[in-house]
């Protein structure tokens, strides 16, 4: 996927102002950013749901604005919100959608993958918010997509289901699926993504691996410990030397921790700079 100078205006307001992205095959790419940053807009342009105002976009070798059914058979989409097929059951919906694709996954297997076995015969409208979301994910992967778009897929998941979902995403990635996801959970981006980009005000303000985003790897670390004189905290670019120095006496340091800024700290800094 290749995006160059992507722009989107709604009337007079510019929501996406020149975004460049390259997502390689088989990669998990996370798009981060505050509410209204333009994530959904960007993703929906890449999915072919919205028209762009300017820029060049290639997704699986085609322009999503013009691509047809054969292209759509190769992608999977999980939209930010949906409330359709209310009267059908989970299994019926999956079996039905499977018929659209040349080489679909087995609906029963998909039910298992998203952990909806107990609800397979329940009407969609009776599902809880998180279960409904799992069905959305299931419908997104039923066609065995090469490229999967996930717009805030885990919103409303309980922690256990969220972990199971991560496993599923890793499984899909291991099969070679390229994944573009947006999320507000930074731990999720950190756990899953090969690379992340932070979108703010319609621009990419930082891009990199979760470990190096915004110079995170080289940032000062904070060392905390306690001794007879109380609790200490010191920021240093060279924490290893400091710990060496402190432990020179051979005594055990109470409550010793060395922390780098979390992805969340880095993210908040990046967003803060924009404001």
């Amino acid at each position: 996927m290749e995006v160059r100078g992507l722009r989107k205006d709604y009337g007079a307001s510019t929501v996406v102002a020149g975004v460049d992205l390259d997502i390689r095959q088989g990669e998990i790419f996370a798009l981060l950013g505050p509410n209204g940053a333009g994530k959904t807009t960007t993703v929906e342009i890449l999915e072919g749901h919205r028209r762009r105002t300017g820029g060049d976009v290639r997704v699986l070798g085609e322009d999503p604005g013009r691509a047809g059914g054969a292209w759509r058979a190769r992608i999977g989409i999980v939209l930010q919100s949906a409330s359709d097929s209310a009267e059908l059951t989970v299994a019926e919906s999956l079996r039905h959608f499977a018929r659209y694709y040349p080489d679909p996954r087995d609906p029963e297997e998909v039910v298992r993958l998203v952990g909806l076995e107990e609800k397979r015969n329940a009407r969609v409208q009776t599902l809880s918010g998180g279960q409904r979301r799992r069905l959305d994910v299931a419908l997104g992967i039923i066609g065995r997509p090469e490229l999967l778009f996930l717009d805030e897929p885990t919103t409303g998941f309980d922690p256990e289901v969220r972990r199971k979902f991560w496993t599923l995403i890793e499984l899909l990635a291991a099969e070679g699926t390229t994944i573009l996801l947006t999320t507000h959970y930074l731990d999720e981006a950190e756990a899953l993504a090969d690379r992340v980009a932070v979108l703010a005000g319609g621009r990419v303000v930082a891009e990199g691996t979760p470990a190096t985003l915004g110079g995170r790897a080289n940032a000062e670390a904070t060392v905390r410990w306690t001794d007879a004189r109380g609790a200490h905290e010191r920021r240093t670019p060279r924490p290893t030397s400091l710990v060496n120095e402190l432990s020179a006496g051979g005594g055990e340091l109470g409550g010793l921790t060395v922390t780098r800024p979390s992805l969340e700290d880095t993210y908040l800094d990046l967003i803060g700079e924009r404001r």
Partner: protein
Amino acid sequence: MTALVSRPGTLSIGLARGAFELRQFFRQKETVVFTFSLPVLLMVLLGSVFGDVYPDTGLEASQLFAAGMIGAGIISTSFVSMGIGVALDRENGTLKRLRGTPMPATSYFIGKIVLVAVSSLAQAAIMLTIASLMFGLTVPTSPEKWLTFAWVFALGVTGCAALGVAASSLARSVNGAAAGTNIVFLALQFASGVLVTPITALPDVMVNVSSFFPVKWMCQGLRSVFLPEEAARYEMAGQWELGLTALVLSAWCVAGLLLCRLVFRWTNNRE
């Protein structure tokens, strides 16, 4: 890899969609009851008020009315239900989800046509049964009459359903679509001599206007099926005008399908 496995056909997906739509529809008990009972209720209530017997033919006003109402019932399950149904699909994200799959747009419409054909036939059957029990409407036995029924039904349902889709695209919301299609339908029902029988009782100007629209021809066609020959004298032209009926209904089919292609939208996004 994808080139090796062929994509499923438009028709087979369309029929699968038809089954999906039917399930979805018949599981919504409230909608089903509402859809079918409204025209029936109107027919039963108004039909019981029209007690006159026409002295020249011995036909009852209620029979004339009931025959026309069957047409109106079919139009309500095609035009009105389609207008609301597609607007709902747009509002609840059904269309957006489908847009993101390889399903061809034509398959979506095939599914809708299956739904409308089945529900309209059911509507016609229910109304005909009640009309024959309550108002002594005779169920025709000649194949000729049923042939007329078949083409009036097919042309009428197709045209009205296409117009319903077009109407849904003009509306901004489900409520707008519901109000809009119902108002148009009610006005045409009145002006086409469905609610007032016989149609000759209406001012000429009004009928001249309503003659441009399918409601009048649909109902006239069905009166020709369910009423005896001599009832033709209560039509504006004093005859059934089946040729003209076929012409007008076909023209609306074509116009409806063109309009449908022209104004159909997948989403409500204003961009």
